[in-house]
């Protein structure tokens, strides 16, 4: 975090994440995850400085709304860190925003295996079946999120804000 502005913008981004999570709270946590705020993960393709804001949002989201709190704090936040870092590295080689978002969607869908792993350990749910259900929810939200985030970026200039 280099500047105070970066810190403030990321804090507000995390607050937006919570606000959006709150809107769809009842269907956000369980085997079939459908968290609309997950589309904010696409912020990373516009500017990698949003990294901490997204992580903070995921962390607080789990802290407030997740019944499986301690495990989600570790596995959920860990999954986001890993997926965002992967997209950040891949983004160095891809400049097209749509391609980056598609990669991001793929990375997040695949890394949902961490969440499935968590549920398999704690709730003894079958791993592959759980992965499929949580990955579908994530994939759908992030695919729908692509045009939305693209439109928002065009109007709010997310890439040049910080």
């Amino acid at each position: 975090m280099k500047t105070v502005k970066m810190l403030a913008v990321n804090a507000l981004l995390a607050a937006i994440y919570i606000v959006l999570t709150f809107f769809l709270q009842p269907i956000s946590f369980s085997a079939v995850q459908f968290r609309i705020s997950e589309m904010l993960n696409h912020m990373i393709v516009f500017n990698k400085k949003y990294f901490w804001g997204i992580i903070c949002g995921v962390f607080l989201g789990n802290l407030f709304f997740s019944p499986m709190l301690p495990y989600d704090l570790i596995f959920g936040t860990g999954q986001s860190v890993l997926a965002l870092l992967t997209t950040m590295i891949v983004s160095k080689f891809i400049t097209n925003i749509w391609a980056r978002m598609l990669v991001n969607t793929g990375v997040f869908t695949l890394t949902m295996c961490f969440i499935a792993w968590e549920l398999a350990i704690v709730l003894k749910l079958p791993f592959l079946w759980t992965w499929l259900t949580v990955a579908i929810g994530e994939c759908v939200v992030m695919l729908i999120g692509m045009p939305i985030m693209y439109a928002i970026n065009r109007r709010a200039k997310l890439d040049k804000l910080i």
Partner: protein, 264 residues
């Protein structure tokens, strides 16, 4: 429309409320690891007993705990049924078509259900008795060693505090935006998937622009007041570890020892 109480914190004066957030956080994280030690009736009973003790010491109305449990009833039920039909072993108690319930499967599903319930009770106890700001302070203090590997712990904790401060503001703002856009004829609740997705954009753009405008003002205000990062910064709320916290940790460790002894 938005009656969100941030977190579920219920202010009160009890043994659990007075504890240092660090000891509560450590205990909860230890507890969710040692729940895996429970594998029979005695160990599960010990865990349930521990939860009841916690509830009693927190002096909270049981209805608060019940509310936390009610929201996860579906998860418990689905997990119970999946474990019931998917695990095998022991004698067959009941079979209908391809579905088979075995004695070992039944036992396992009951234990898993108890596991979920005690986890939820313990974490609900944490969030009911500790304010989000206390949790943030506690985490910052616990994660301090990570500074050595260049993790911006202080900045992250500050970010969390700022975020907590602005969530109610943004909720209010979102409500205003929804009303303003509805007044202009936006429809968020009906129509095809495509039109609903399209309707989200005019909702989110003002939200982002407004939020980032606030962030800019805030950053300027912080700089004007001389915010200069972690170094030499003092705190309004000092964390204090006393004998109660040590006692709590000792109780959790004792539970772990008892669980290990009662496992066989």
């Amino acid at each position: 429309m938005f009656n969100l109480v941030i977190g579920q914190y219920v202010p009160a004066d009890s043994y659990i409320h007075r504890l240092d957030p660090r000891s509560k956080l450590i205990s909860v994280f230890l507890f969710v690891i040692i729940v895996f030690l429970a594998n029979n009736w005695v160990t599960n009973a010990l865990m349930v007993l521990f939860c009841f003790l916690g509830i009693a010491l927190s002096r909270l109305n049981v209805s608060f705990i019940y509310r936390g449990l009610r929201s996860v009833f579906i998860i418990v039920l689905i997990t119970f049924l999946l474990n019931l039909f998917l695990s095998s072993g022991g004698t067959v108690l009941f079979s209908w078509g391809f579905l088979r319930v075995t004695s070992a499967g039944l036992l396992q599903s009951i234990f898993i259900a108890i596991r979920i319930l005690v986890i939820i009770v313990v974490t609900t106890l944490l969030t009911l008795t500790t304010s989000p700001i206390e949790i943030t302070d506690g985490m910052e203090s616990l994660l301090n060693p990570l500074k050595k590997i260049k993790v911006p712990v202080h900045e992250f904790a500050l970010m969390m505090s700022i975020s907590l401060r602005f969530i109610p503001t943004l909720l209010e703002e979102t409500e205003k935006i929804i009303k303003a856009q509805s007044a202009r004829g936006s429809d968020f609740t009906s129509g095809s998937l495509k039109s609903r997705v399209k309707a989200i954009v005019p909702l989110l753009v003002p939200l982002f622009v407004g939020a980032f405008k606030r962030a800019e003002d805030l950053a300027m205000a912080m700089e004007a007041r001389g915010y200069h990062g972690d170094f030499g910064r003092t705190k309004l709320h000092q964390l204090k570890w006393d004998w109660r916290d040590t006692l709590l940790l000792a109780a959790v460790l004792l539970l772990a020892v008892l669980l290990i002894l009662a496992r066989y």
